[in-house]
Protein backbone atom coordinates (compact mmCIF):
# COMPACT_ATOMS: atom_id res chain seq x y z
CA UNK A 1 0.00 0.00 0.00
CA UNK A 2 0.91 3.64 -0.30
CA UNK A 3 1.16 6.57 2.02
CA UNK A 4 0.39 10.05 0.67
CA UNK A 5 1.46 13.20 2.53
CA UNK A 6 -0.28 16.43 1.52
CA UNK A 7 0.73 19.81 2.98
CA UNK A 8 -1.15 22.98 2.04
CA UNK A 9 -2.96 26.02 3.45
CA UNK A 10 -5.49 25.28 6.19
CA UNK A 11 -8.00 27.53 4.49
CA UNK A 12 -8.24 25.09 1.59
CA UNK A 13 -8.80 22.09 3.87
CA UNK A 14 -12.51 21.65 3.26
CA UNK A 15 -12.11 21.92 -0.49
CA UNK A 16 -9.22 19.45 -0.46
CA UNK A 17 -11.13 16.90 1.57
CA UNK A 18 -14.02 17.18 -0.86
CA UNK A 19 -11.69 16.26 -3.70
CA UNK A 20 -10.24 13.40 -1.67
CA UNK A 21 -13.68 12.02 -0.99
CA UNK A 22 -14.37 12.30 -4.70
CA UNK A 23 -11.31 10.09 -5.22
CA UNK A 24 -12.91 7.62 -2.77
CA UNK A 25 -10.08 7.48 -0.26
CA UNK A 26 -10.61 4.82 2.43
CA UNK A 27 -9.77 7.37 5.14
CA UNK A 28 -7.52 10.28 5.98
CA UNK A 29 -5.84 11.94 8.93
CA UNK A 30 -5.54 15.72 9.40
CA UNK A 31 -3.06 17.70 11.44
CA UNK A 32 -3.72 21.43 11.62
CA UNK A 33 -1.68 24.36 12.95
CA UNK A 34 1.32 23.24 10.92
CA UNK A 35 3.83 25.86 9.79
CA UNK A 36 6.67 25.73 7.28
CA UNK A 37 8.39 27.17 4.28
CA UNK A 38 7.92 26.31 0.65
CA UNK A 39 9.72 27.47 -2.47
CA UNK A 40 8.19 30.93 -2.19
CA UNK A 41 6.15 31.34 0.92
CA UNK A 42 6.78 31.20 4.65
CA UNK A 43 3.81 30.09 6.73
CA UNK A 44 4.31 31.22 10.30
CA UNK A 45 2.15 31.16 13.38
CA UNK A 46 1.04 34.75 12.90
CA UNK A 47 -0.88 33.59 9.85
CA UNK A 48 -3.33 32.13 12.31
CA UNK A 49 -3.64 35.51 13.96
CA UNK A 50 -4.79 37.05 10.71
CA UNK A 51 -7.43 34.42 10.18
CA UNK A 52 -5.54 32.77 7.33
CA UNK A 53 -4.86 29.70 9.37
CA UNK A 54 -1.54 27.90 9.12
CA UNK A 55 -0.92 24.80 6.99
CA UNK A 56 -2.68 21.47 7.25
CA UNK A 57 -0.88 18.14 6.94
CA UNK A 58 -3.06 15.34 5.58
CA UNK A 59 -1.97 11.69 5.54
CA UNK A 60 -3.74 9.06 3.46
CA UNK A 61 -2.99 5.34 3.49
CA UNK A 62 -4.42 3.78 0.34
CA UNK A 63 -3.80 1.62 -2.73
CA UNK A 64 -2.06 2.80 -5.88
CA UNK A 65 -5.30 3.18 -7.83
CA UNK A 66 -6.61 5.66 -5.26
CA UNK A 67 -3.40 7.61 -5.71
CA UNK A 68 -4.13 7.76 -9.43
CA UNK A 69 -7.61 9.13 -8.78
CA UNK A 70 -6.24 11.67 -6.31
CA UNK A 71 -3.88 12.89 -9.00
CA UNK A 72 -6.89 13.77 -11.12
CA UNK A 73 -9.11 15.29 -8.41
CA UNK A 74 -6.73 16.92 -5.94
CA UNK A 75 -3.58 17.85 -7.81
CA UNK A 76 -5.11 20.75 -9.79
CA UNK A 77 -6.31 22.41 -6.58
CA UNK A 78 -2.91 21.89 -4.97
CA UNK A 79 -1.20 23.46 -7.94
CA UNK A 80 -3.53 26.45 -7.87
CA UNK A 81 -3.19 27.23 -4.17
CA UNK A 82 0.30 25.87 -3.60
CA UNK A 83 1.41 23.00 -1.39
CA UNK A 84 3.29 19.70 -1.67
CA UNK A 85 2.32 16.05 -2.10
CA UNK A 86 4.63 13.06 -1.66
CA UNK A 87 4.00 9.33 -1.98
CA UNK A 88 5.89 6.57 -0.20
CA UNK A 89 5.43 2.88 0.53
CA UNK A 90 3.67 1.58 3.62
CA UNK A 91 2.49 -1.82 4.83
CA UNK A 92 -0.42 -2.30 7.20
CA UNK A 93 0.60 -3.79 10.53
CA UNK A 94 -1.34 -7.00 10.88
Amino acid sequence: MKRLDLIFGERELDQMIETLEKAQVPGYTVMKHVTGRGPERIVSEDMEFTGLGANAHVIIFCDQDVIERIKRTTLPLLNFYGGVAFVSDATPLS
Binding site: G9, R11, H33, R41, I42, S44, E45, D46, M47, E48, F49, T50, G51, L52, G53, A54, F80, Y81, G82
Partner: protein
Protein backbone atom coordinates in the same frame (compact mmCIF):
# COMPACT_ATOMS: atom_id res chain seq x y z
CA UNK B 1 0.26 69.82 16.64
CA UNK B 2 2.03 69.44 19.94
CA UNK B 3 4.13 66.51 21.02
CA UNK B 4 2.40 66.31 24.39
CA UNK B 5 -0.69 65.18 22.51
CA UNK B 6 1.33 62.38 20.93
CA UNK B 7 2.94 61.46 24.22
CA UNK B 8 -0.38 61.33 26.01
CA UNK B 9 -1.64 59.05 23.26
CA UNK B 10 1.37 56.79 23.50
CA UNK B 11 1.61 56.53 27.26
CA UNK B 12 -1.53 54.45 27.65
CA UNK B 13 -1.34 50.79 28.64
CA UNK B 14 -2.60 49.35 25.33
CA UNK B 15 -0.04 51.24 23.25
CA UNK B 16 2.71 50.52 25.74
CA UNK B 17 1.93 46.81 25.64
CA UNK B 18 2.04 46.93 21.85
CA UNK B 19 5.57 48.26 22.06
CA UNK B 20 6.47 45.81 24.80
CA UNK B 21 5.54 43.03 22.37
CA UNK B 22 7.40 44.63 19.48
CA UNK B 23 10.55 45.18 21.55
CA UNK B 24 10.43 41.56 22.71
CA UNK B 25 11.00 40.52 19.10
CA UNK B 26 13.68 43.13 18.49
CA UNK B 27 15.71 42.08 21.54
CA UNK B 28 15.03 38.40 20.73
CA UNK B 29 13.21 37.59 23.95
CA UNK B 30 11.39 34.28 23.71
CA UNK B 31 8.13 35.84 24.91
CA UNK B 32 5.27 34.46 22.87
CA UNK B 33 1.50 34.23 23.01
CA UNK B 34 0.97 30.74 21.63
CA UNK B 35 -1.84 30.11 19.19
CA UNK B 36 -4.83 29.94 19.60
CA UNK B 37 -4.70 32.44 22.48
CA UNK B 38 -4.56 35.46 20.12
CA UNK B 39 -7.70 34.09 18.52
CA UNK B 40 -9.38 34.06 21.92
CA UNK B 41 -8.69 37.74 22.35
CA UNK B 42 -9.67 38.73 18.83
CA UNK B 43 -12.96 36.83 19.15
CA UNK B 44 -13.53 38.47 22.52
CA UNK B 45 -12.82 41.96 21.19
CA UNK B 46 -15.13 41.53 18.20
CA UNK B 47 -17.90 40.14 20.37
CA UNK B 48 -17.57 42.93 22.92
CA UNK B 49 -17.22 45.75 20.40
CA UNK B 50 -20.23 44.45 18.51
CA UNK B 51 -22.40 43.94 21.56
CA UNK B 52 -21.59 47.35 23.01
CA UNK B 53 -22.18 48.95 19.62
CA UNK B 54 -25.58 47.29 19.46
CA UNK B 55 -26.53 48.72 22.85
CA UNK B 56 -25.48 52.18 21.76
CA UNK B 57 -27.27 51.92 18.46
CA UNK B 58 -30.45 51.00 20.25
CA UNK B 59 -30.01 54.07 22.45
CA UNK B 60 -29.32 56.45 19.57
CA UNK B 61 -31.90 55.02 17.20
CA UNK B 62 -31.68 55.64 13.46
CA UNK B 63 -32.65 59.32 13.41
CA UNK B 64 -30.54 62.44 12.92
CA UNK B 65 -27.05 61.89 11.55
CA UNK B 66 -27.13 58.15 11.98
CA UNK B 67 -28.39 56.94 8.62
CA UNK B 68 -26.49 59.54 6.57
CA UNK B 69 -23.31 58.53 8.42
CA UNK B 70 -23.96 54.89 7.62
CA UNK B 71 -24.51 55.68 3.94
CA UNK B 72 -21.34 57.76 3.84
CA UNK B 73 -19.42 54.98 5.58
CA UNK B 74 -20.40 52.44 2.96
CA UNK B 75 -19.73 54.74 0.04
CA UNK B 76 -16.35 55.77 1.43
CA UNK B 77 -15.28 52.18 1.91
CA UNK B 78 -16.18 51.49 -1.72
CA UNK B 79 -14.28 54.55 -2.88
CA UNK B 80 -11.05 54.25 -0.90
CA UNK B 81 -9.99 50.87 -2.31
CA UNK B 82 -10.42 52.24 -5.83
CA UNK B 83 -8.11 55.16 -5.07
CA UNK B 84 -5.61 52.87 -3.35
CA UNK B 85 -5.71 50.45 -6.25
CA UNK B 86 -4.81 53.18 -8.74
CA UNK B 87 -1.88 54.26 -6.59
CA UNK B 88 -0.65 50.71 -5.98
CA UNK B 89 -0.82 49.69 -9.63
CA UNK B 90 1.97 52.20 -10.31
CA UNK B 91 4.39 49.68 -8.89
CA UNK B 92 2.67 46.44 -7.96
CA UNK B 93 0.98 43.67 -9.89
CA UNK B 94 -2.77 43.26 -10.13
CA UNK B 95 -3.17 40.74 -7.31
CA UNK B 96 -1.14 42.51 -4.71
CA UNK B 97 -2.68 45.85 -5.61
CA UNK B 98 -6.20 44.52 -5.21
CA UNK B 99 -5.44 42.80 -1.92
CA UNK B 100 -3.74 45.79 -0.35
CA UNK B 101 -6.40 48.17 -1.67
CA UNK B 102 -9.09 46.07 -0.02
CA UNK B 103 -7.20 46.14 3.29
CA UNK B 104 -6.99 49.94 3.31
CA UNK B 105 -10.63 50.28 2.36
CA UNK B 106 -11.61 48.07 5.26
CA UNK B 107 -11.07 49.00 8.92
CA UNK B 108 -9.05 48.07 11.99
CA UNK B 109 -11.17 47.66 15.09
CA UNK B 110 -8.24 48.06 17.45
CA UNK B 111 -7.24 51.40 15.92
CA UNK B 112 -10.84 52.50 16.40
CA UNK B 113 -10.81 51.50 20.07
CA UNK B 114 -7.57 53.38 20.61
CA UNK B 115 -9.15 56.47 19.09
CA UNK B 116 -12.11 56.11 21.44
CA UNK B 117 -9.76 55.96 24.44
CA UNK B 118 -7.94 59.00 23.10
CA UNK B 119 -11.21 60.94 22.95
CA UNK B 120 -12.16 59.87 26.45
CA UNK B 121 -8.78 61.05 27.71
CA UNK B 122 -9.31 64.41 25.99
CA UNK B 123 -12.82 64.68 27.35
CA UNK B 124 -14.33 64.90 23.86
CA UNK B 125 -17.72 63.24 23.42
CA UNK B 126 -18.63 60.85 20.62
CA UNK B 127 -21.58 58.64 19.74
CA UNK B 128 -21.99 54.91 20.12
CA UNK B 129 -23.51 54.49 16.68
CA UNK B 130 -20.06 54.97 15.19
CA UNK B 131 -19.36 51.32 16.08
CA UNK B 132 -22.13 50.36 13.71
CA UNK B 133 -20.40 52.44 11.04
CA UNK B 134 -17.27 50.41 11.78
CA UNK B 135 -19.17 47.18 11.29
CA UNK B 136 -20.60 48.45 8.01
CA UNK B 137 -17.18 49.41 6.67
CA UNK B 138 -15.59 46.02 7.14
CA UNK B 139 -17.01 44.26 4.08
CA UNK B 140 -17.56 46.60 1.11
CA UNK B 141 -13.86 47.07 0.43
CA UNK B 142 -13.40 43.30 0.23
CA UNK B 143 -16.07 43.16 -2.47
CA UNK B 144 -14.29 45.92 -4.39
CA UNK B 145 -10.96 44.15 -4.06
CA UNK B 146 -12.30 40.85 -5.32
CA UNK B 147 -14.20 42.52 -8.16
CA UNK B 148 -11.07 44.36 -9.25
CA UNK B 149 -9.29 41.04 -9.67
CA UNK B 150 -12.23 39.47 -11.42
CA UNK B 151 -12.76 42.32 -13.87
CA UNK B 152 -9.14 43.15 -14.62
CA UNK B 153 -8.29 39.52 -14.93
CA UNK B 154 -11.05 38.55 -17.34
CA UNK B 155 -8.81 38.33 -20.36
CA UNK B 156 -6.04 36.79 -18.35
CA UNK B 157 -5.20 33.69 -16.42
CA UNK B 158 -7.56 31.10 -15.09
CA UNK B 159 -7.72 32.31 -11.50
CA UNK B 160 -10.04 35.18 -12.15
CA UNK B 161 -12.54 32.87 -13.78
CA UNK B 162 -12.66 30.76 -10.69
CA UNK B 163 -14.19 33.60 -8.68
CA UNK B 164 -17.96 33.71 -8.72
CA UNK B 165 -20.07 36.64 -7.62
CA UNK B 166 -21.79 34.61 -4.93
CA UNK B 167 -18.44 33.59 -3.58
CA UNK B 168 -17.36 37.21 -3.43
CA UNK B 169 -20.39 38.31 -1.45
CA UNK B 170 -19.99 35.30 0.80
CA UNK B 171 -16.34 36.00 1.61
CA UNK B 172 -17.08 39.67 2.17
CA UNK B 173 -20.12 39.40 4.42
CA UNK B 174 -19.65 36.04 6.10
CA UNK B 175 -15.97 35.87 6.94
CA UNK B 176 -15.64 35.01 10.61
CA UNK B 177 -14.79 38.45 11.91
CA UNK B 178 -17.41 40.42 9.97
CA UNK B 179 -20.01 37.84 10.90
CA UNK B 180 -19.21 37.88 14.61
CA UNK B 181 -19.07 41.67 14.72
CA UNK B 182 -22.40 42.16 12.95
CA UNK B 183 -24.02 39.30 14.83
CA UNK B 184 -22.96 40.64 18.20
CA UNK B 185 -24.14 44.10 17.20
CA UNK B 186 -27.50 42.63 16.36
CA UNK B 187 -27.65 40.70 19.65
CA UNK B 188 -26.68 43.81 21.58
CA UNK B 189 -29.43 45.75 19.85
CA UNK B 190 -32.09 43.15 20.59
CA UNK B 191 -30.96 42.68 24.16
CA UNK B 192 -31.02 46.40 24.87
CA UNK B 193 -34.54 46.61 23.48
CA UNK B 194 -35.99 43.59 25.26
CA UNK B 195 -33.91 42.70 28.22
CA UNK B 196 -32.22 45.54 30.09
CA UNK B 197 -31.31 43.31 33.04
CA UNK B 198 -29.33 41.06 30.72
CA UNK B 199 -27.36 44.09 29.56
CA UNK B 200 -26.27 44.67 33.13
CA UNK B 201 -25.22 41.05 33.47
CA UNK B 202 -23.14 41.25 30.31
CA UNK B 203 -21.26 44.39 31.32
CA UNK B 204 -18.58 42.84 33.54
CA UNK B 205 -17.57 40.68 30.59
CA UNK B 206 -18.03 42.99 27.62
CA UNK B 207 -17.10 46.32 29.21
CA UNK B 208 -15.21 46.07 32.48
CA UNK B 209 -12.78 43.50 31.19
CA UNK B 210 -12.34 45.13 27.83
CA UNK B 211 -9.45 47.47 28.48
CA UNK B 212 -7.24 44.82 30.03
CA UNK B 213 -8.01 42.23 27.38
CA UNK B 214 -7.17 44.84 24.76
CA UNK B 215 -3.75 45.26 26.39
CA UNK B 216 -3.13 41.53 26.23
CA UNK B 217 -4.17 41.42 22.58
CA UNK B 218 -1.96 44.38 21.73
CA UNK B 219 0.98 42.65 23.38
CA UNK B 220 0.57 39.90 20.81
CA UNK B 221 -0.09 42.35 17.96
CA UNK B 222 3.20 44.00 18.82
CA UNK B 223 4.98 40.67 18.55
CA UNK B 224 3.41 39.86 15.20
CA UNK B 225 3.99 43.37 13.84
CA UNK B 226 7.67 43.29 14.74
CA UNK B 227 8.08 39.81 13.25
CA UNK B 228 6.79 41.27 10.02
CA UNK B 229 9.19 44.18 9.87
CA UNK B 230 11.99 42.34 7.99
CA UNK B 231 9.63 41.40 5.17
CA UNK B 232 8.63 45.07 5.01
CA UNK B 233 12.21 45.91 4.20
CA UNK B 234 12.02 43.48 1.30
CA UNK B 235 8.81 45.14 0.17
CA UNK B 236 10.70 48.29 -0.74
CA UNK B 237 10.33 52.01 -0.18
CA UNK B 238 7.23 52.38 -2.33
CA UNK B 239 5.14 50.27 0.02
CA UNK B 240 6.66 51.94 3.07
CA UNK B 241 5.67 55.37 1.78
CA UNK B 242 2.24 54.02 0.90
CA UNK B 243 1.76 52.61 4.40
CA UNK B 244 2.26 56.06 5.90
CA UNK B 245 1.00 58.36 3.15
CA UNK B 246 -2.23 56.58 2.34
CA UNK B 247 -3.65 56.75 5.91
CA UNK B 248 -2.93 60.48 5.96
CA UNK B 249 -4.79 60.92 2.68
CA UNK B 250 -7.67 58.65 3.68
CA UNK B 251 -7.93 60.27 7.10
CA UNK B 252 -8.13 63.74 5.53
CA UNK B 253 -10.76 62.50 3.14
CA UNK B 254 -12.69 61.13 6.09
CA UNK B 255 -12.58 64.48 7.88
CA UNK B 256 -13.90 66.32 4.83
CA UNK B 257 -16.76 63.85 4.55
CA UNK B 258 -17.43 64.16 8.27
CA UNK B 259 -17.66 67.93 7.85
CA UNK B 260 -20.23 67.50 5.07
CA UNK B 261 -22.20 65.17 7.33
CA UNK B 262 -22.11 67.75 10.09
CA UNK B 263 -20.56 65.36 12.61
CA UNK B 264 -19.16 66.76 15.85
CA UNK B 265 -15.39 66.65 16.49
CA UNK B 266 -15.48 63.31 18.33
CA UNK B 267 -17.45 61.49 15.66
CA UNK B 268 -15.39 63.18 12.97
CA UNK B 269 -12.18 61.83 14.46
CA UNK B 270 -13.64 58.34 14.62
CA UNK B 271 -14.77 58.58 11.02
CA UNK B 272 -11.32 59.74 9.97
CA UNK B 273 -9.75 56.83 11.83
CA UNK B 274 -12.08 54.36 10.14
CA UNK B 275 -10.99 55.69 6.77
CA UNK B 276 -7.31 55.84 7.68
CA UNK B 277 -7.00 52.43 9.28
CA UNK B 278 -6.36 49.20 7.38
CA UNK B 279 -7.56 45.68 8.08
CA UNK B 280 -5.31 42.77 8.98
CA UNK B 281 -7.93 40.38 10.31
CA UNK B 282 -10.68 39.85 7.77
CA UNK B 283 -9.12 40.97 4.52
CA UNK B 284 -6.09 38.69 4.12
CA UNK B 285 -8.28 35.64 4.59
CA UNK B 286 -10.98 36.88 2.24
CA UNK B 287 -8.58 37.91 -0.52
CA UNK B 288 -6.82 34.56 -0.56
CA UNK B 289 -9.84 33.06 -2.24
CA UNK B 290 -9.06 34.94 -5.44
CA UNK B 291 -5.46 35.72 -5.02
CA UNK B 292 -3.37 32.88 -3.67
CA UNK B 293 -0.47 34.60 -5.35
CA UNK B 294 -0.90 37.81 -3.39
CA UNK B 295 1.96 37.58 -0.99
CA UNK B 296 0.04 37.84 2.22
CA UNK B 297 3.27 38.73 3.93
CA UNK B 298 3.38 42.06 2.07
CA UNK B 299 -0.19 42.77 3.03
CA UNK B 300 0.21 42.07 6.72
CA UNK B 301 3.58 43.72 7.07
CA UNK B 302 2.20 46.89 5.53
CA UNK B 303 -1.07 47.07 7.43
CA UNK B 304 0.03 45.68 10.77
CA UNK B 305 3.75 46.38 10.74
CA UNK B 306 3.55 50.00 9.71
CA UNK B 307 0.09 51.53 9.22
CA UNK B 308 -1.28 50.27 12.51
CA UNK B 309 1.46 51.65 14.77
CA UNK B 310 1.61 54.83 12.67
CA UNK B 311 -2.10 55.47 13.16
CA UNK B 312 -2.08 54.58 16.82
CA UNK B 313 0.94 56.65 17.75
CA UNK B 314 1.07 59.66 15.41
CA UNK B 315 -1.97 59.38 13.17
CA UNK B 316 -4.70 59.85 15.76
CA UNK B 317 -3.26 63.09 17.18
CA UNK B 318 -2.68 64.39 13.63
CA UNK B 319 -6.26 63.66 12.62
CA UNK B 320 -7.48 65.28 15.85
CA UNK B 321 -5.48 68.34 14.99
CA UNK B 322 -6.98 68.49 11.53
CA UNK B 323 -10.46 67.98 12.96
CA UNK B 324 -9.93 70.86 15.36
CA UNK B 325 -8.95 73.13 12.49
CA UNK B 326 -11.71 72.12 10.13
CA UNK B 327 -14.66 71.31 12.35
CA UNK B 328 -15.85 73.95 14.82
CA UNK B 329 -16.20 72.84 18.43
CA UNK B 330 -19.88 72.58 19.24
Amino acid sequence: MNTSLILQNVLTPPVLFFFLGAIAVLVRSDLEVPSPLPKLFSLYLLLSIGFTGGLELEKSGFGGQVLPTFAAAIITSLLIPLICFLVLRLKLDLFNSAAIAAAYGSISAVTFITAESFLENQGISFDGFMVAALALMESPAIIVGLLLVKLSGLKRKSNAKMIRFRGILHEAMLNGSAYLLLGSLFIGFITAANNPSAVLKMQPFTEKLFYGAECFFLLDMGIVAAQRLPSLKKAGSFLICFAVGMPLFNGSLGILIAKQLGLGPGNALLFAVLCASASYLAVPAAMRMSVPEARASYLISTTLGLTFPFNVVIGIPIYMNMVNKIIPMS
